[in-house]
Symmetry: C2
Subunit: 329 residues, 2 copies
């Protein structure tokens, strides 16, 4: 469908040009509306779009699918781009400095995925502390009737939750854990004046005062490996860490060592430093829960993203304010 | 330790008699305080207590460990028992009619386990809907780098949660799901006047209006197989069921059929009808999470139970009010 619609419109591009930027493996099937209102330019269209190279030079709006990198070289190829609509919660795949220099506006998925990621973070925390996946393995491998030894987990309610990054997602994580009578503290770039939770300017201090450390900040130059050896030492043997942000927020090699030595209580990973590669040492551990970067993915969140993107494409071409625009300060 | 202490005190039973009723496999190691203040009578002491048969006839207080059944025949053997201290959230293992006839008071674990069970129920629901355990299997079996097909889950936030049994546990389940912006409705024996949630006198109607059905009521003659074919049909293909109550609250055979035919969305089981036997058909399903009746078990809940039991033993012998007494109406 995509290819034929695009091809016909390409011959007479009377509709506004919309440049799609994506990995070849990322499908566009969840954006069918695009083809009815825009001339979609897709580098990976099958069959290829013969006028792609020509028309894409004039495209003012780029829709970036998933975490496909947008480099300075990409922007050289598409010199007319004024705005990039992202479809991820994070924006570490964009060369933001290059965007800033060229005056290109950038959006993220805003709040479209926030509930799902927060739900998943809480699910991972309960799973790690209460050993739900481990219980499931215990039953599925027949260990229950055999009365094999069962390792008890640890209570969730009342724990101290430290949140790294109190944005759209972190705020929702906090709200959910409050209902478990957990106390909340946070670290973020700046203190948030309207937030009732204690603020720690220093992640190590936050870890010292947390039983559950939830990582949901953006990956930037400043936050690369923000969870390092010092932080893990302070979190300690009974502490657990949940990462629903980006793999490189944690020094993964160090965390694996801590887990192997039993110097940290457990971990729930939705993201890894070298996806889809997962350190093989983790596969042998019973106190870790591993997930293939799917915290954002539900049919409902796709629908919310689609609604956001439609709204932003329309807003761009009618010069109205964009939703979920990233501050490029 | 238990046996020698007991044995010495047994010879000169100057301390009040405390009768322990337990399966042989249930350990007493988490009640060390008992041996310092009471003459502990334990049918399964090793070595056996020679005066057990004799002294147990005079015991006024029974401590029942875990779900060990207390039958009318047991009560015939211990004619002086006036009070049974339970250590479970449920009380279906007691012959309550016999207790009522004999004027025996009965307690449960009260709120000692309530937070843990509620936490676990929420964890199971997130796990089933968002497929956390399935994601874990996906990663651990190497399917991620192989780019095998990944089945998406369904959003948790905003779902309609139906709670069967709005007691100590159900109330906490409701409070937690509210923080996920879920709507709550419930069924219980009677409408609760101070509760803001819609009440359904009929479980089938509750199921019709629920996406997540959480079973946390007591097992009684009235609630046996309360989740039957009709209820499952009404819950439907996208509905999920979470059971942290007792296995026999659900017609398990029927539920397994519904799951196999894909006529219900998924299920999280902490309890089963014939524990530790788990229907083998469930082991083949990816949309069920299986747990070996451990929702109550954390070191923290054991500590809370121990505190409750100490307090109730003391209260009994000093004729003070008992905590967590069950109404035998």
């Amino acid at each position: 469908m995509a290819a034929s619609n695009t091809q016909s419109k390409e011959d007479t591009p009377t509709l506004p040009l919309l440049l799609i930027h994506r990995f070849p493996s990322f499908k566009l099937s969840f954006f069918p509306f695009l083809y009815t209102k825009y001339t979609v330019l897709d580098q990976h269209a099958d069959p290829p779009q013969t006028r792609f190279a020509d028309l894409s030079k004039s495209a003012r709006l780029m829709l970036c699918v998933g975490p496909t990198p947008v480099t300075s070289a990409d922007l050289d190829r598409y010199p007319a781009v004024e705005c990039i609509l992202g479809s991820c919660a994070g924006f570490d795949h964009f060369d933001l400095a290059a965007c800033r220099r060229r005056g290109i506006r950038v959006t993220s998925s805003g709040e479209a995925f926030s509930d799902d990621v927060a739900d998943y973070a809480v699910g991972l925390a309960i799973d790690v502390l209460r050993r739900v996946s481990a219980a499931n393995r215990f039953v599925r491998t027949g260990s229950w009737p055999a009365r094999k030894e069962y390792t008890l987990g640890s209570k969730v309610s009342g724990k101290r939750v430290g949140i790294l990054g109190l944005g759209n997602i972190g705020w929702r994580v906090a709200k959910r854990f409050e209902s478990f009578n957990c106390s909340i503290a946070y670290n973020s770039r700046k203190i948030k004046s309207q937030v009732p939770y204690p603020y720690y300017a220093n992640v190590t201090n936050l870890a010292s005062n947390s039983d559950i450390l939830v990582i949901c900040c953006a990956l930037t130059d400043e936050t690369y490996h923000v969870v390092n050896k010092d932080v893990l030492e302070k979190l300690g043997k009974t502490g657990i860490i949940i990462n629903v942000g980006r793999g490189s927020l944690i020094d993964e090699k160090e965390l694996v060592e801590f887990l192997i030595r039993g110097e940290i209580g457990g971990a729930g990973f939705d993201v890894f430093e070298h996806e889809p590669h997962v350190p093989k040492e983790l596969l042998a551990l019973d106190n870790v829960v591993l997930s293939p970067h799917k915290a954002v993915l539900t049919p409902e969140s796709f629908a919310a993203l689609e609604e956001l993107v439609i709204s932003n494409v329309d807003a761009f071409f009618s010069s109205k304010p964009l939703r979920a625009e990233i501050e490029l300060d």
